[in-house]
Symmetry: C2
Subunit: 197 residues, 2 copies
Amino acid sequence: MALQEPESEQSNPQLSAAMRRTRTAILDAALAVLPVNPKASLSDIAEKADVGRSTLHRHFNDRTDLVRALALYVRDLSNVAIDRAEPEVGTPLAAIRRLVDGQFDLGPILVFLHEDPLVRTDPELHEQFGVGEDKLIMAITRAADPADPTPTAWRLRVFWELVRLGSDFTANGAARHEAIDAIMYTLTHGMAAGESR
Amino acid sequence: MALQEPESEQSNPQLSAAMRRTRTAILDAALAVLPVNPKASLSDIAEKADVGRSTLHRHFNDRTDLVRALALYVRDLSNVAIDRAEPEVGTPLAAIRRLVDGQFDLGPILVFLHEDPLVRTDPELHEQFGVGEDKLIMAITRAADPADPTPTAWRLRVFWELVRLGSDFTANGAARHEAIDAIMYTLTHGMAAGESR
DNA sequence: CCTTAATGGGACGGTTATGTCCTATTTTAA
DNA sequence: TTAAAATAGGACATAACCGTCCCATTAAGG
């Protein structure tokens, strides 16, 4: 998962370099394992991170601690990718495509987090998650057909689900660019010809 | 969940009326509980069904047994709803709308099943699940824009995800018809204005 | 009414994941 | 090189869930 590190993890003054590395390794392992197997044990995650289970417990008191940290970690990754996509530059569609491309790899883990009971219930966490979406909403609104009657929240969810669906499609053999093309086509045309066209 | 019972459950010659009732109650409980909490215990499901845990175990040997039966149960419910929608009648869009309406309540459980490791791995079950989708694929193909370059499998997945998203939206306060309207608009127009329009 | 079918509830052992603690070893940094 | 910081690994108690079995009670059907 070659993604830009968010600085909130890169420069954490609290932790030594070594501890930051293992902490990130654990978070990356959780990032990779949990979407595939949502009920993976902490042993599974520790093993994937090449780390002893006791070490994992030293960094994260319990499972909810880990999920909580993972949520913030992923949120940062997502926000960094949104910024790098420069959503306010160029044509709306080009911006959307860059956003899709940037969020593509995050699709599965974002869905896992969105469905996790902890993230769903914890109000603070849930709120914090929407923070970085402002620019995304801007871009979606900029690209929207003025005649579109659906609420912004709906279109936002559609965006995320299509991104995740695209990620999932590559797992079934499709190439990344094919998946992104399919996302873009569906985003711009839907999948059924309306009478008005 | 006021859905048409599939006859495969209604008239099972093997079971007495009483046992069929409790069996269906358990399946309905699982249908309601599992999408919300995918790792609900068998106790949770039995409790929701107003049934002792031992009774649940009498009907379904173990958890995989239950999920397996649930998959077939839901598949039947879905197929009944597809038939009732008469997907080959009328304009393509009207047919799609009827299909969406018929599958609306099944969205969450279908996603749960689609993601369940048992359903994913068991080849027989996985195959059986695609059986009833033929008419759905027909209707989607009938409604498709001839210029749409995306594969049918992709559009099928988009259909299911939008249905599930709509169900999810009602859980957040939206009215059912609003959700269906949003689904239909997105299915026919997407959510971003393309250059070609 | 009486027999049989079905259920409810509880007890039990086995398994798995969890969280805590301790110790020996390795790595890091001064 | 040496002291401190991290880690691996294992032991341990706890809790949850599962699958099985048994028995008393209730409901159903002849």
